[in-house]
């Protein structure tokens, strides 16, 4: 019996997820009917539909946080560590702020910042990586050796060091994590582009006298998209975890701004009392990570032309 209850829960969660995915796919099929995307939507696996639905929900929650949250992000609204109730759905935290409202605002802060950081990391890494591959020679050597040097230092320790030097603020954190993650993106972009620059069509473009920018933008980048998109999903999750880790250590998003990483830390004592509330922000992070990877897997599958 003791074993059956958790199994039942797992089954319920899986069924719920599948139902959400199926429902979302039906909706998307109706919405995309007759357009070019219709075919892609119809062949979308349930996992990808589920992932898209979750991402969409997160985005809506983040966008409309002030409308959804019953209380403000930073206001103390009650006693410390209140249990779940009809007024405070998920109770209150160690200062007496409403947990549910902070979860909702956390979606905006944590996801928004992670997205900005990943986008910046990709901008820097992809551009430099493609330039290194397309130009080659000493440009490639210099860029690659700098990146090697950066990668020799453990990422989290390096980030902590830089943030201690620069001072912990949100723009600084975005910049630091983006630069560190850009080294990983650089390596991938360069490796992928290396295989593409030797193609005859790139040679034909060079022989035509095309400039570097056009060769990179039109000839190389479109053919490097599939692995880069896959990496974007993974990288997004890593950045997410980095931010949460830094926040947990006190160097990331600063209080009183709501953030899932620091929310785990702030309410961690409740775990000893058998309360699962501190695990909810962590669960939100895990759910988004899984959702993003479902979608990325699907995109990768499509881009690489694999058939099932």
């Amino acid at each position: 019996m003791a074993l059956l209850v958790p199994l039942g829960w797992i089954a319920a969660v899986l069924a719920g997820g599948a139902a959400l995915g199926w429902l979302f796919r039906r909706l998307a099929m109706t919405a995309a009917h007759g357009t070019r995307a219709a075919r892609a939507v119809r062949s979308m696996p349930l996992t990808a539909a589920f992932g898209l639905a979750v991402i969409l929900i997160y985005a809506l929650v983040g966008l409309f946080a002030p409308l959804i949250a019953p209380f403000s992000e930073r206001e103390v609204v009650g006693a410390q560590y209140l249990p779940w109730s009809s007024e405070h759905w998920l109770g209150t935290d160690h200062l007496g702020r409403d947990m549910f409202s902070r979860m909702v605002y956390g979606a905006r802060n944590t996801v928004g910042i992670a997205l900005a950081t990943t986008a910046l990391a990709f901008g820097i890494g992809t551009v430099l990586g493609l330039i290194a591959a397309a130009v080659g020679g000493w440009v490639d050597q210099v860029l690659s050796r700098i990146v090697d040097a950066f990668m020799a230092i453990p990422a989290l320790i390096f980030a902590m060091l830089l943030l201690t030097l620069l001072g912990p603020s949100i723009p600084n954190m975005i910049l630091v994590i983006a630069v560190i993650d850009a080294t990983r993106v650089f390596r991938l972009a360069r490796a992928v582009a290396m295989d593409i620059v030797v193609m005859d069509y790139v040679e034909a473009a060079r022989l035509r006298g095309e400039g570097l920018a056009r060769i990179i933008a039109r000839e190389i980048l479109p053919n490097a998209m599939a692995p880069l998109v896959a990496e974007f999903g993974l990288r997004f999750c890593f950045v997410f975890l980095s931010i949460s880790a830094l926040s947990f250590l006190g160097l990331g998003i600063q209080p009183p701004t709501a953030d899932w990483g620091s929310m785990v830390r702030d309410t961690a004592t409740l775990i000893t009392f058998g309360d699962i509330t501190p695990l909810l922000p962590a669960g939100a992070i895990a759910l988004l990570t899984v959702a993003v990877n479902f979608v990325v897997d699907w995109q990768l599958h499509r881009a690489s032309g694999l058939k099932d």
């Binding site: 005859d200 069509y201 039109r218 058939k307």
Partner: protein
């Protein structure tokens, strides 16, 4: 006696999107022990699919929709996978087109050769090793005792192809399927592989299915020939009567392909468009071209022939400016051409255009034809809007593709021949004076290649292009060349007009090259081998 292989009314379908498209439609085939059947047809005719089906195997995304495959009384369609697996490699073996891709680069040849007989329990490891060496010897591989200890990258392509045949023979199968085993080889290497395969198949009494698109090759190998077209049988007859009296119109058209000839052109007059003078070039320390002299004239085609590694593609790369020559110079209409393409002005870049061997890598897979062909027009001629659109239509009509249907397609939505046409259009879009064609037809079927050659011929007449045509196929040279240059090891062996070079007396290398080209005569291989053996036998006797 019942035939070894009896395929009845076989239909195989392949998935395309949500639908199943037939790849093989109701083909029947019988093969007796010790018999060799040739399967020929263009790509997409279903030859390989049929060949694999003879092993009871279909590729991913395909299914057998009907019919039966009886191998020695066992129905391979209904037999359980386990039983089919035990037949493959033991009683039925397969030799693929690319031996380089079929060998595991991490293991020695001998270990891969003995794998099938040992795994299937035909014989113990030691005996299999001895038999493998005997097979290497029968395949006329050099150093048969030691070659098995080498890794695949340590032997040449022709040797690897022979080693693969030895591997297929290792468990003494009843049936071998050869899928284009010599297509990727030079003519001089092909002849060695052909004779080795023919002898070993004959001596061991193995039945074989020989798949190829080269009629002259199949004429040497097969007892009977079956012609396929779009998954259906066109006709089947024994080799000699098929060659002398093909019944169907399609078969006749296959036979007629090699007859494309062009009238002689008058000898060149005036200054050459492009002159190559004393050019030597090297990749790092490796010297690949030695003192090359060459003239290209308006409206004339110069064919460069030679086996792989002779430096013919390097020559094209030097002319295009991709590999600056170590010594010597290039002149375009009397003016000196900069050695590297980076230093050439746009006018010079425009004048020399290249067409690549493999249209798969020559066209950006993410670009539509509109941009692939339109970009050079825009870039060199500065056209845009309606003028660009008009020029695009003009170019598409030049390459005989309908603009309305094709302009918005991606390269993956075209056939191999159509892609090569697009490659030509992209080169023509720049309005060049010199076209460098690097093996542009060698990846194509004969009928499609024929179309490309005719197209190039017509365009040359219309536009007065000077063409440098690199090829290893003498039949192509006969069809299109005005002048011929024979290369070996980075040097020009002989050069002159087609009539001069192709007519005797030849120098020894040209003679070897010319005599290695398969002819449509079933006795050709035997005759050539006898002729070649005769002088060496005399030398040995002395």
């Amino acid at each position: 006696m019942a035939p070894l292989l009896d395929i009845r009314d076989l239909t195989i379908e392949g998935r395309s999107g949500d639908d199943w498209m037939p790849l093989v439609r109701g083909v029947s085939l019988t093969l007796n022990r010790g018999e060799v059947l040739g399967l020929i047809g263009e790509s997409g005719a279903g030859k390989s699919t049929l060949g694999l089906a003879a092993m009871g195997y279909v590729r991913d995304g395909c299914r057998i929709a009907g019919g039966s495959i009886l191998f020695d009384g066992i129905d391979l369609v209904r037999a359980p996978e386990d039983q089919r697996r035990r037949l493959r490699g033991r009683r039925i073996a397969y030799v693929a087109q690319s031996a380089a891709a079929s060998f595991n680069p991490a293991h020695r040849l001998i270990d891969q050769t003995v794998e099938a007989p040992v795994v299937h329990g035909v014989m113990p490891r030691a005996q299999a090793g001895r038999e493998a060496v005997a097979l290497y010897r029968r395949m006329q591989l050099p150093d048969p005792d030691g070659i098995g200890l080498r890794y695949p990258h340590q032997v040449s392509g022709g040797q690897l192809q022979r080693a693969m045949t030895a591997m297929a023979m290792a468990s003494r199968p009843d049936l071998i399927i050869f899928d284009e085993p010599t297509t990727a080889l030079d003519v001089t290497t092909q002849i060695e592989v052909l004779s080795a395969i023919r002898d070993i198949v004959r001596d061991s009494g193995t039945a074989a299915i020989y798949i190829t698109h080269d009629l002259a090759v199949v004429a040497q190998m097969a007892d009977r020939i079956k012609v396929l077209l779009r998954g259906q049988e066109v006709e089947e007859a024994d080799t000699r009567s098929m060659l002398s009296a093909p019944r169907e119109a399609y078969t006749k058209s296959l036979w007629a392909v090699r007859s494309h000839q062009r009238p002689e052109r008058p000898p060149p007059v005036g200054e050459p468009v492009l002159a190559v003078r004393h050019v030597s070039a090297a990749y790092g320390m490796m010297q690949v071209l030695h003192g090359i002299n060459l003239d290209l004239h308006v409206g004339r085609t110069t064919a460069v022939v030679g086996e792989s590694g002779s430096g013919k593609s390097t020559l094209a790369r030097v002319i295009a400016g991709l590999l600056p020559p170590a010594r010597g110079e290039l002149r375009l209409a009397g003016r000196r051409l900069a050695p590297s393409y980076r230093m050439r002005p746009r006018e010079d870049l425009r004048a020399v255009q290249m067409i690549y061997q493999s249209a798969d890598t020559a066209l950006n897979p993410k670009m539509r034809l509109r941009e692939i062909i339109g970009r050079p027009v825009q870039f060199h001629a500065g056209l845009s809007g309606a003028a660009l659109e008009r020029r695009l239509h003009e170019l598409m009509e030049m390459i005989e593709l309908d603009p309305a249907t094709f302009l918005d397609r991606l390269p993956s939505e075209l056939s191999g021949g159509q892609r090569q046409r697009v490659g030509i259009a992209r080169a023509l879009a720049a309005e060049p004076r010199v076209l460098l064609c690097d093996e542009v037809t060698s990846a194509l079927d004969q009928i499609v290649a024929e179309g490309i050659l005719k197209l190039l011929d017509r365009l040359q007449e219309e536009l007065g292009l000077a063409i440098l045509f690199i090829t290893h196929d003498i039949a192509t040279v006969r069809a299109i060349a005005d002048d011929v240059v024979v290369m070996k090891d980075g040097r020009i062996v002989t050069q002159g007009t087609k009539a001069d070079v192709l007519a005797p007396p030849h120098d020894p290398y040209t003679e070897l090259l010319l005599s290695s080209v398969p002819e449509m005569d079933p006795d050709w291989l035997t005759r050539v081998l006898e002729r070649r053996a005769a002088p060496s036998a005399r030398a040995a006797g002395r």
